[in-house]
Amino acid sequence: MQKVAVLGAGMTRFVRRSLETGRELCWEAASAALEDAGLTLEDIDCVVLTSAPDAFDGVHMKTEYLLDGAGAKGKPMVRPYVGGGSGVMAANAGWYHVASGRFRTCLVVAEERMSPTQPHPQGAFNAIYDQFTERPLGVNLLWIFSLEMMRYMQVYDIPLETIAKVAVKNKRNALGHPASQLGAELTVEEVLKSEVMAYPVMRLMVSPVTDGAVALVLANEKFARRKGRKHVWVEGVGWALDTSYWTNRDLCYPEYVEKAALAAYKMAGITNPREEIHVAEPYDPFAYKELHHLEGLQLADKGQAPRLLEQGFWDRDTTTGIPASPSGGLLGVGNPIAAAALMKVAEIYWQLSGKAGERQVRRNVKRGLAQAWGDLMQVGTVIILGV
């Protein structure tokens, strides 16, 4: 197996309505990543290009349409697709393109434009449900999340105020992010007083509708060493998909995230993640999901992530805990679905290479993890980077 290095990362601003087309967003992110890596398109052997549902842009075979912008014309291009987990899965796919020995370098691009969906992307989400048993109920994502959040709060006796603190933390972290859409200094009261979407989910606990793109450059060890700098390496990858019958599962704990994380820890040789992972970017499309995922990732015992939150364990400036979502996450930076998850991988790369600027965590970090989640509360994707 070839060792795989992250040579560069780039992203566009995350905005509610981009004036750029999807192709242009891809170009902007890919160009920034190539520039960061000091490479040109001629150095790139293959492209992994992803985007979440075609229904957002209303373009069938969306990556075929986008590929010119992502520099994939005339190159091998693959689109890994696991719904919201696609962004981290794209990085994992980039890893297997290079680790297999088939390609020296890989440009990984994730793009999402949710703004073309009118009147609101939640309409497209109705079509993710079973066409016979669930779609006729008119369900959307907010409903399913309110069920899961309620279950999580009930089983582990978690107060709503604690969950609101995730939104406060992440939106504050995002203030230091130049690409952020929703960086803000808020209080718990403000979050709790925001509009009820589907109780107990409030508007400020939900990530926004966003357009944007992110890109990474990966290379094998020989290629990376020739570039002769200190590198960030991919140490482990994992992914797992649970049953489509989400109604048959206990929603209080994400087993699929546990399976994905354990696979990634095994590959990275990690036996005690709470000691060996120094910074984490768990997926936070909804405030409670960050806590839920931190438990699935084995970084906290079941039901304990909220208690650790109260103690400041997940804060960006912690010296004894594990900073979680130092970027500001989906709640703060924004949530262009596939691109948001790849932004989390890019953030770990920036943190480990000391390029995170204002967002740089205070503790010394040698290894970090990014995780995404998607489909019908069903897929976990995990990548571990280290220096």
Partner: protein
């Protein structure tokens, strides 16, 4: 890339214009059970699962959600590739080459009968600002391409019609084919024009079906009972589908993919390298265009060779002995998996009445249909 990769199990359903008695998940289940039985393995022996498909063709937003249960892959590493069967094969091959996964399953399916108007779906793949707004039937892209191909190569419309005659005739010997027929070139040329010079009988009609393959690393073959067929190389290339800047007469993606696939499989003279080839024929002229891009015929000579019977089932190089998409049905992204199945059966000597004698190495070539310029090439062989 030291590890050899082999297909050790193949499962499939028959291909039919409609399948009202089964959902797409039930079709996949049928194929999966047969594939595991063929390989002598259970889903617990599998390290990773790859499915292929596109949302709009399945009528589900995020179709990846509905992939794990019927493969026995719940809470296992499953991911979808929104690409064709050759790209999926490439991903399975790469996963094994990383050394982290020893046995990988590849699944692809079509439930085209659920789609009332496939052309409406295809039209959604056109550039929303510059191409779709005209409201044309998406086959105009194929019509324009065919016109340019005929113009530049001197190929005749009758030669294109003969591809349809050959493939539908070949399908008479394939028990899973949906559209076998004994036709004359006159009948094909007399069928309804769709986007001139393209005619209805030169377009593959859609069909339903599912395929599941079990792939294993060379070092794992002892625990698999299925007779292995080796994947010597896989390559896939995307060219632009932007109408104003694309190439209208050559399959540039196939030329580039073939160059990579031949290099990896150490093939110097493709014309004499293969016992048979399964080549994308979603539209009849595409088979000729792809044959030339693969170097299996000189530029402009493929049509004449079809007329001479060179690519007939009993000719020097049988092309689409399965019946191709024209004879078996258009299965969207799963089209190349029908070719892959044929390659497995031929190389194992299990192709029955359409068995190519002494088959030792085969080629499959895919295209993702209009409006794309994306396709792949794979080389398969039996144990040398």
């Amino acid at each position: 890339m030291k590890e050899k990769v082999a297909i050790v199990g193949a499962g499939f359903t028959s291909l039919r214009p409609v399948s009202p008695e089964a959902s797409f998940r039930e079709l996949i289940f049928e194929a999966a059970v047969r594939a595991y039985e063929d390989a002598g393995l259970t889903p617990q022996d599998v390290d990773s699962f790859v499915s292929i498909g596109e949302d709009y063709q399945d009528g589900t937003c995020i179709m990846d959600e509905y992939t794990p249960d019927q493969l026995g892959a719940v809470q296992r590493p499953v991911h979808t590739i929104s690409g064709d069967g050759v790209a999926g094969l490439g991903v399975a091959w790469m996963l094994i080459q990383t050394g982290q996964f020893r046995v990988v399953v590849l699944e692809g399916h079509s439930k085209a009968s659920n789609v009332r108007h496939p052309a409406h779906v295809e039209a959604m793949a056109l550039d929303p600002s510059f191409a779709r707004v005209h409201g044309w039937h998406p086959s105009f892209v194929a019509g324009l391409e065919m016109r340019r191909y005929l113009h530049e190569t001197g190929t005749t419309e009758e030669q294109v019609a003969r591809v349809a005659v050959k493939n539908k005739y070949n399908a008479l010997k394939n028990p899973i084919a949906a559209y076998p027929a004994r036709l004359s070139a006159e009948q094909v040329l007399g069928s309804r024009p769709v986007a001139e010079p393209l005619r209805e009988l030169e377009m593959a009609p859609t069909a339903d079906g599912a395929f599941v393959f079990v792939l294993a690393a060379g070092s794992e073959l002892e625990r698999c009972q299925g007779r292995p067929v080796f994947v010597d190389s896989v390559a896939w290339i995307s060219d632009t589908c932007n109408l104003p800047t694309r190439d209208w007469s050559r399959a540039v993606y196939t030329e580039k993919a073939a160059a990579q696939a031949y290099q990896l499989a150490r093939i110097r003279e493709p014309q004499s390298a293969f016992s048979f080839a399964e080549i994308d024929d979603t539209f009849a002229y595409k088979e000729l265009q792809h044959l030339e891009a693969l170097g299996l015929a000189e530029r402009g000579a493929a049509g004449r060779r079809v007329e001479e019977g060179f690519f007939d089932a009993d000719g020097p190089l049988p092309v689409n002995v399965s019946g191709g998409a024209l004879g078996c049905g258009h299965l969207f992204e799963a089209n190349p998996l029908r070719g892959l199945l044929e390659a497995v059966l031929q190389l194992r000597g299990q192709a029955g009445p359409r068995q190519v004698p002494r088959a030792r190495r085969g080629l499959i070539c895919s295209w993702r249909s209009v409006p794309t310029a994306t396709g792949g090439v794979a080389v398969l062989s039996r144990r040398k």
